[in-house]
């Protein structure tokens, strides 16, 4: 089971644009390999998973969306707070007529679009239900649930929403449900993985999120460094490139040998590219040391310049598994 044995709920977060949906999808495949059943769910009504897996838009009902290597199934769902609310009414209150009345005065609208607290309660509630659902023979329906969660800026509030619910609703079924979710989220059965790029802002947000999660006592999982580029220059060359001290003569000679134009303009462009590359490499190095201080397992995923198609997704799943994610 790799680094996350015993973890039932994998929450994948990250700054917008870092590729958390991709990582959630790849992680679900990796976890489902060798005969597992894994649910991957999205909560932001983006249909990002459907695009990633190249399947029809996901619905509230869980559907099988992909096969995992060596037998295994990945199921997908888009958790719609409106449907979660109706299900919730049904499950906890057996509200038929009154449930519809609430809908009419705009309560459902209110709960699902305006009060993020309630929206998050519904979404985390549904996730919790999927995590602990059992078959008639008592086996868990899913070996793991992967949540394509809100971005780092909102993740702690999202996961910890039920803690505030317990203080607002102090008794009754809502209170009981909220306490059960709070227990799961703060237990070793949950891991929050943070996706980042080796850039200043995503790394800063990653560090902030780790600090927030830790102070809320929610278990931080892995740091996933996405879109890693291959280094093209050796470290001594990088230093020289950054100072624009690569030898022009040598470069020009090389171009000549290769049968390419080697005028000053061409050399200048190559020097510029090299300087930008070296600048970026230096920046990446310093970001990497910030991440290292967070002291979490770190997985690195390669960059796909042409975007992620299903083939790339399975490759990423392998890369994650190889590094111990599953």
């Amino acid at each position: 089971m790799g680094d996350w044995e015993g973890v039932r709920l994998h929450v994948v977060t990250g700054k917008g644009g870092t590729g958390k949906t991709t990582v959630a999808g790849a992680l679900a495949i990796a976890l489902a390999a060798d005969g597992g059943r894994v649910l991957v769910a999205e909560v932001e009504e983006r249909q990002g998973l459907a695009q990633l897996f190249d399947v029809a838009p996901l619905t509230y009902d869980e559907k099988r969306i992909a096969a995992a290597p060596r037998g295994g199934d990945v199921f997908g769902s888009a958790i719609d707070p409106r449907e979660a609310m109706h299900e919730y009414f049904e499950m906890f209150y057996r509200l038929g007529r009154a449930g519809r009345a609430l809908d009419k005065v705009g309560f459902v609208d209110f709960a699902t679009t305006i009060a993020p607290g309630l929206r998050d309660v519904l979404v985390t509630g549904k996730t919790y239900e999927a995590t602990r659902r059992r078959t008639s023979s008592g086996e868990p329906v899913y070996d793991a649930v992967v949540l394509d969660a809100p971005p780092t800026g909102r993740i702690t509030r999202f996961l910890d929403v039920n803690t505030s619910v317990t203080s607002l609703a102090r008794v009754g079924p809502i209170n009981r449900q909220a306490r059960a979710i709070t227990e799961l989220v703060h237990s070793p059965r949950t891991a929050v993985h943070i996706v980042t790029l080796l850039e200043d802002m995503p790394v800063q947000e990653t560090a902030d999120a780790v600090a927030e999660l830790r102070s809320a006592e929610i278990p931080v999982g892995a740091i996933v460094v996405n879109q890693m580029r291959r280094p093209h220059l050796r470290s001594r060359e990088l230093t020289a490139a950054r100072r624009r001290r690569l030898d022009r003569e040598t470069i020009a000679k090389g171009l000549q040998v290769a049968g390419l134009p080697n005028n000053d303009g061409v050399v200048e462009v190559l020097m510029d590219n090299a300087a930008a590359h070296a600048e970026r490499a230096a920046l990446e190095r310093s970001q990497r040391s910030v991440l290292k201080e967070l002291d979490r397992p770190t997985y690195e995923l390669p960059h796909y310049p042409d975007g992620i198609d299903p083939t790339a997704l399975y490759e990423l799943a392998d890369v994650l598994a190889d590094q111990g994610a599953a």
């Binding site: 700054k15 917008g16 644009g17 009504e45 990002g48 009414f89 209150y93 509200l95 009154a98 009345a101 609430l102 005065v105 705009g106 309560f107 209110f110 679009t113 305006i114 009060a115 993020p116 607290g117 971005p151 800026g153 607002l168 609703a169 102090r170 008794v171 009754g172 809502i174 850039e199 200043d200 802002m201 995503p202 800063q204 580029r229 093209h232 220059l233 060359e237 690569l246 030898d247 040598t250 470069i251 000679k253 090389g254 171009l255 040998v257 290769a258 390419l260 134009p261 303009g265 061409v266 462009v269 190559l270 510029d272 590219n273 090299a274 300087a275 920046l283 310049p305 042409d306 975007g307």
Partner: protein, 384 residues
Amino acid sequence: MSAAAYPHRAPQLRADHLIDDPRVRIIVCCGSGGVGKTTTAAAIALRAAERGRRAVVLTIDPARRLAQSMGLTELDNTPRAVRGVNTEAGGGLDAMMLDMKRTFDEVVEEHTTPDKARQILANPFYQAVSSSFAGTQEYMAMEKLGQLRHRSQWDLIVVDTPPSRSALDFLDAPQRLGSFLDGRLIRLLSGPARTGGRSYLKVLHAGFSVMTSAMTKVLGSELLRDVQTFVNALDTMFGGFRERADQTYALLKRPETAFLVVAAPEPDALREASYFVDRLSRDAMPLAGLVLNRMRVDRAAGIGEEQAIAAAERLEAAGEHQLTASLLRLHAEHLRLAARDERISDRFSSAHPDVPVVRLPALAGDVHDLDGLRQVGVHFSGTG
């Protein structure tokens, strides 16, 4: 890199015309998260200021170092002069960070007696609304924008929009929240007395008691009581919320406003940008154009991608000129990424051929000082 280096069907966004035009009083930078909205807003405001506008930039959630570079060390809702701005052209730049809770408190204090205000501010339900409701940030950003516009201190306001699930939230959330606060639900919550006359009440009575009991069941009686106290204390402000949201929305439709949709060459960001552009045009809102950040620039210099790879392979096979071979591989990668960015951006422009575009090259490092912002401004104007 001149703007002409991007041969393209889309019309070029004339950025300096926009920021120099005295009729333009508000520039709203919107787009999905992680595309460089805050940096773009700050760079535009700085450039406008140094070209003679008395500008203020309203930021929502700036990166720490960028905020520091503008002297924004605390989140206190007060516009402060940014130091280090060149004021020779007669302009100036102020900057502020939005404190949404405080802005909400101020709205409450302004519209009711000190006594009632105290009651409202202490109410647990109000505290939940003002600190965590979806749309509160958007609503308060709009509110703040309205307030800044009322003061005559600035002739240009540049607004960065909150990082939300969807760029459209900036337009919709304030009205959603306003309608909720003014709406039927909250009146029902506040007790039967508020639902209307007696005859109306009789008809409704049966349905109503089913509902209050359902609501009590779902929310719990204590929470319902908090809500009722809140609504009753808020009594004098009914009407005010939606009205204010509507007023600012109307302000955004006036020709003095210019929307800049910010995106990066990523399919998701451009899809968001597309939704936003469609929405602006459907609501006849003044769209100035698309700012495409982080474009990797094609500088072929006479060596194409495949040519570079083939040459690198030759040199590597011969075991000589390893440095040149590496540089050629790097060059090929640059060209490939530039072509990808180009392709993705072109897709947007084919779908929206009339939307003016300005493309900003990717920078090697992060922007965290005024010089960095100036550099972005130069690219923005297409004069770099």
